[in-house]
């Protein structure tokens, strides 16, 4: 029992130490490389606080684009995945195709989106949706297909309509996996958006990054990276909290383990 509590104590300390070690590493790299190539953590934080006002518009633009594309890809992806997953045959047929699409480097297709949409926000939204939609589709498909047959029997014995069945049985059954899928979908939408902004855009955080890269200002680059990492972590934490709540609701054990 005693060793158990000391293990807990050390792991909490260790978890807090990781960011500290990262910052120390950052400082060490700065000392090794010197001024023009790198910036110290302190310089980057100062730069961040100085420039934050200037960047607000870009941050807002990126967040807005991200939110729109996340909502679209989450809705379309989960609905498509859900309906495909209802049929085992179509899941078996389509899942290799979707997995194949998932594994290609989608960023190389961005020029095609540019040709269709031009340098507009709708082009970035479309690309970001395309970048994030496949994982949630795959997860939703698999989760729906794996709903235990006994749940469906229950629905049949109550003579539920399709909507009642979906609302009371199917959706709650896939909820835990759906939240995991939403988290992945969000991360990938964000990644796609940043890539799109870095390649060709007049606004947004990715555009700023490339801009400061051509000016060779590492402190601004690192400050922007801090903002990007913060956004990524903030939303991921929200999803993780949601996931934990869901898992607590169903008693932590996996639904599929029935």
């Amino acid at each position: 029992m005693k060793s158990n509590t000391s293990f807990e104590k050390w792991s909490t300390i260790g978890r807090w130490l990781v960011p500290v070690i990262l910052v120390i590493l950052w400082e060490l790299i700065y000392i090794m490389l010197g001024e023009p190539a790198m910036a110290s953590p302190w310089q980057s934080v100062v730069n961040l606080s100085e420039n934050f006002g200037n960047w607000l518009q870009d941050i807002g633009n990126t967040l807005l684009t991200l939110l729109i594309s996340f909502v679209i890809s989450a809705l379309v992806g989960s609905i498509l995945g859900f309906f495909i997953g209802l049929s085992p045959f179509w899941t078996k047929t389509l899942s290799p195709l979707v997995l194949g699409l998932y594994s290609i480097p989608k960023v190389t297709l961005y020029p095609i989106f540019l040709l269709i949409f031009g340098l507009t926000i709708s082009g970035r939204v479309a690309f970001s949706v395309f970048h994030g939609i496949f994982p949630i589709m795959i997860i939703c498909m698999e989760a729906t297909r794996a709903i235990p047959a006994i749940y469906l029997k229950l629905a049949k014995s109550y003579q539920m309509s399709f909507f009642q069945k979906a609302k009371n049985i199917l959706i709650p059954a896939i909820m835990p996996q759906l939240v995991v899928g939403l988290r992945m979908c969000f991360s990938l939408c964000f990644l796609g958006l940043i890539l799109a902004e870095m390649f060709a855009s007049y606004e947004g955080l990715g555009h700023r990054l490339v801009h400061y890269m051509s000016l060779n200002q590492p402190s601004s680059i690192l400050a922007l990276i801090l903002i990007i990492v913060f956004i990524a972590f903030f939303f991921t934490f929200l999803f993780l909290i949601w996931q934990e709540r869901n898992e607590r609701k169903i008693g932590k054990s996996k639904v599929n383990a029935v």
């Binding site: 594994s103 480097p105 020029p111 095609i112 990644l191 890539l195 870095m198 390649f199 990524a232 939303f235």
Partner: protein, 249 residues
């Protein structure tokens, strides 16, 4: 041939044919889309140009292979460390989970200023991008080994090295292979995406170069090549994986 394979092939073929007809009949804007056959022929033609094969195709393949092999070796080593030391595993687990939440390519400018231009920063991005997948799956694979197998090894008085070779690795192999499969996909994505945004060499670069010069044929031929590479690698690894699972069951 099973029915679902037939339908898969039918779906792909009909998509290609519809696209081909739509572009040939100019239903789609010819400044945006070119016929599939033209793309394909342009892709084949690219390989007749030694400059393309050496500078772009060769560079990309080399970068992918180095970053992939590096990620597998380092990933398995780290995975073993995480499996042997519970404390480190417990400390690092949340960070490993958060890793793929970060848009990792944003770090590329910093890699360039540290490592210079050239293939090294591209390889590093590919390596770091695929590393966590191998680490997590290796650690998981070793942790999920059934107690019975370990006991068999112990009853033969095997040393740790012998245990690794005869018990641990064969038992954890399917999990590790899943990590390897993810790693190659992530290496391809990491390398080509980095070349695509900010590099002067490689397949990814040829796409952005062709786009910036309004060279539709060049752009689509490279896009097609990248997609084919990714799909073929994915298919081959998926096939090997299915064989592995069959043997292990």
């Amino acid at each position: 041939m099973k029915r679902h394979h037939l339908i898969q092939i039918l779906i792909i073929l009909s998509l290609i044919i519809v696209y081909e007809i739509a572009t040939r009949m100019e239903w789609l804007d010819s400044f945006t889309f070119i016929p599939f056959s033209t793309m394909f022929m342009a892709m084949i033609d690219n390989f007749k140009d030694p400059g393309f094969v050496m500078n772009h195709f060769g560079t990309t393949v080399m970068e992918i292979v180095i970053s992939f092999v590096g990620a597998v070796i380092l990933g398995i080593l780290f995975g073993i460390v995480l499996w042997r030391f519970d404390l480190i595993h417990h400390i690092l687990q949340p960070y490993l989970m958060l890793f793929y939440a970060i848009p990792f390519f944003a770090l590329y400018p910093i890699f360039i200023s540290i490592l210079g231009v050239g293939p090294v920063p591209v390889i590093m991005i590919g390596l770091f991008f695929s590393l966590p997948a191998v680490i997590v799956n290796t650690a998981l694979g070793f942790r999920e080994i059934r107690k019975v197998l370990v006991k068999v090894g112990q009853s033969f008085n095997l040393t740790f090295r012998q245990m690794l070779v005869h018990i641990y690795f064969p038992a954890a192999w399917p999990f590790i292979f899943t990590g390897i499969k993810l790693a190659i996909a992530y290496s391809i994505i990491g390398v080509i995406a980095t070349e695509f945004i900010l590099s002067a060499r490689g397949l990814g670069y040829t796409i952005s170069f062709a786009y910036n010069n309004f060279d539709l044929e060049g752009m689509y031929s490279s896009v097609l090549l990248v997609i084919l590479i990714a799909l073929i690698v994915n298919f081959v690894l998926g096939y090997i994986e299915s064989l592995l699972y069959k043997r292990n069951l």
